[in-house]
């Protein structure tokens, strides 16, 4: 799938602006971002349910949307299957009827419809539910019927719009695994929209992060986690969120340091080249809570006070305040810490990110 320069503007604001994406055959590709970032808009344009203001969309080698060349293929003819957030099941039909519908519309023979529907139902474990109507099914069951309706057509592309958002937490985790399984079995190219970064990281082959209609970064889960391209991506991926501290780049004794006011951080050698290019000296230092350690006073550490502590089963989330700003650190559950206690927070040097304060782009 190729998306070129896709732009869709709404009366209330921009949906998507100048989006360019290459999605590989068989990939499980995620569109991630906060609400209003343009991910659903993009999906609907790919489906053909929305017509963009400009840009082109290719499905395989077929050009399905092109504003410039005035080409537009209707959703019915695109060979895409879609799963909606509210499942969009036809309330007056049984589960069987729902799954059979796309086949019936394309004129398949009754016996063929019968076999294909049963096959799809079996692969999803809902064979015994086929006689029921949507209102007689639970959330998870309805979701599977919606999936059934999508896979029964054996389409070229799956489009999924936050399909797990309406399920309770436990079910969501379970369905995530099921979806991944399904994808491995069928190998169909999938475009998946979500606002949940945990979900994106766990099921996606590659992730495209969007904000306010603009693409921020594309990459594998490791890419976006280890090498966020800007402050937004850094702060969006990972939970608890990355700690951000403002400071200044200072040259000292041939090294470059980040002066955080209360202490200075020496930057690792590998970064010196990148930092030399820096246009400004005002920067933001980012470091993930999982890359910090609570220790005693040492170099390259920052003084902080414990404000409160959360025990999350296998880890301790320590909330601290330094320079009046909140920080989060992760520690072993066995650590003994008291509110108000003064500690030193050390950062893993190899895992620091420096962002230009103004452009918010990563320098290292």
């Amino acid at each position: 799938m190729t998306i070129k320069n896709l732009t869709k503007r709404y009366e209330t604001g921009v949906g998507v602006e100048g989006l360019n994406l290459e999605i590989r055959d068989g990939e499980f590709f995620i569109l991630l971002g906060p609400s209003g970032c343009g991910k659903s808009t993009t999906l609907l344009c790919v489906a053909g349910l929305l017509r963009p203001n400009s840009g082109e969309i290719w499905l395989g080698d077929k050009l399905v949307t092109s504003v410039e060349r005035d080409i537009y293929v209707t959703p019915q003819k695109r060979g895409v299957a879609m799963v909606f957030q509210d499942y969009a099941l036809y309330p007056h039909m049984t589960a069987f009827g729902n799954i059979a519908f796309p086949l019936q519309v394309s004129g398949k023979s009754k016996p063929e419809v019968e076999t294909r529907v049963r096959k799809a139902a079996e692969s999803l474990g809902i064979s015994q539910l086929l006689d029921r109507k949507p209102k007689q099914l639970s959330g998870g069951q309805r979701q599977r019927v919606a999936l059934g309706r999508a896979i029964v057509r054996e389409p070229e592309v799956f489009l999924m719009d936050e399909p797990l958002a309406n399920l309770d937490a436990k079910l969501r985790v379970h369905m995530r695994a099921e979806l991944k399984n399904l994808h491995q079995k069928l190998g169909t190219t999938t475009l998946y929209v979500t606002h949940d970064q945990v979900e994106a990281m766990s099921v996606g082959d590659r992730i495209a992060i969007q904000k306010d209609g603009i693409l921020q970064q594309v990459g594998t889960p490791e890419d976006v986690y280890d090498r966020p391209r800007n402050m937004f991506v850094g702060g969006f991926i990972g939970s608890p969120a990355m700690n951000m501290l403002e400071g200044n780049l200072v040259k000292k004794d041939g090294n470059v340091e980040v002066d955080l006011g209360i202490s200075a951080f020496e930057l690792p050698n590998r970064t010196k080249e990148a930092v030399k290019e820096a246009k400004r000296s005002e920067v933001v230092l980012g470091v993930r809570p999982e890359h910090t350690t609570i220790t005693k006073h040492q170099k390259n550490a920052i003084e902080a006070n414990v404000s409160f502590v959360e025990l999350i089963g296998r880890e301790l989330h320590v909330h601290l305040t330094a320079r009046e700003e909140p920080l989060v650190a992760i520690a072993e559950p066995t650590e003994r810490l008291e509110v108000g206690q003064q500690v030193w927070l050390a950062f893993d040097k190899s895992k620091i990110h420096i962002f230009d304060k103004e452009t918010e782009e990563a320098l290292i």
Binding site: A47, L49, V80, A88, V105
Partner: protein, 274 residues
């Protein structure tokens, strides 16, 4: 809302009073329609007859037989036609976004409110030119045409409540506009057909003006006009008149008692949706 004890008594007294006022006309109607002419003059209208008789009822029925049949004929046909057109129109206005659909809707909405006197003269001329004066078909055409706006409004507001995702799902599943209508939207429309159907039936059945102006002769005389004629004549005394009113009211009363909730929804649609 809870009221303290003494006020609850007043509450029920008031409610009972209004029951009395609501029912009074209907009660006197029924009583009068089973009285002989003597009884009508000499007994109180509220009292039951000393010697009840079904005579007035039979007389009235005899007079109203044909008009009642006429009314049934054009009412049923016009109801079916206007509801069918209303549902397709409502679907188009609600689900197919096109420029000017709001304007079209507004124009139709105005059609609901116009006083029919405003179009009476052209209407009479049109119907007679079409050779449909004094015919059931003429009445069917008229009632259908003037019923389209309200039916469209009813269906449109109903269809707007169908989630867009359902339409999108049908589209990606390969269904075109009319396949979607036939297989998804229509099956979901039965409640609204009930509402529109009941509302249209009572409106058309209750109509008087069009009948008066377009169908005076016996061929297509509606029951409403026949009843009015009954009042005008000196030969039909009060008991026959009341019996006639009773026959004419019967279908609507039955519908009201059995399918009343649909009728109420129809009345509300105008109020809430505006």
């Amino acid at each position: 809302m809870t009221f303290p004890k003494p006020e609850r008594i007043t509450l029920y007294i008031l409610l009972a009073f209004f029951i009395f006022t609501s029912v009074l006309p209907l009660w006197t109607c029924i009583m009068t329609s089973i009285k002989t002419a003597q009884d009508v003059i000499y007994t109180m209208p509220l009292e039951p007859p000393s010697s009840p008789t079904l005579d007035p009822m039979m007389q009235a029925f005899d007079i109203m037989k044909r008009p009642l049949l006429n009314s049934f004929a054009f009412t049923i046909f016009a109801t079916i036609l206007s509801c069918t057109l209303g549902s397709t129109n409502g679907y188009i206005l609600a689900k197919i976004r096109f420029r000017g659909s709001e304007v079209v809707f507004l124009l139709l909405a105005i059609g609901i409110f116009i006083p029919y006197q405003t179009v009476l003269i052209p209407l009479v001329m049109t119907i007679s030119k079409l050779g449909l004066y004094n015919t059931i078909q003429g009445l069917i055409l008229t009632h259908t045409a003037y019923g389209i706006p309200i039916c469209t409004l009813l269906f449109r507001s109903y269809y707007e409540d169908i989630p867009e995702s359902l339409m999108r799902a049908a589209k990606t599943d390969g269904a075109g506009t009319w396949t979607t209508f036939r297989r998804i939207v229509l099956p979901l429309s039965s409640p609204m057909f009930a509402v529109a159907g009941v509302f249209q039936f009572t409106s058309i059945w209750n109509d008087f003006l069009f009948g008066l102006v377009l169908a005076r002769g016996t061929d297509a005389l509606p029951a409403s006009v026949a009843l009015a004629n009954l009042k005008g004549t000196t030969t039909a005394f009060w008991n026959v008149q009341m019996a006639g009113a009773w026959w004419y009211a019967l279908p609507v009363v039955i519908i009201y008692l059995i399918l009343g909730k649909y009728l109420i929804q129809g009345y509300m649609a105008g109020a809430i949706k505006g």
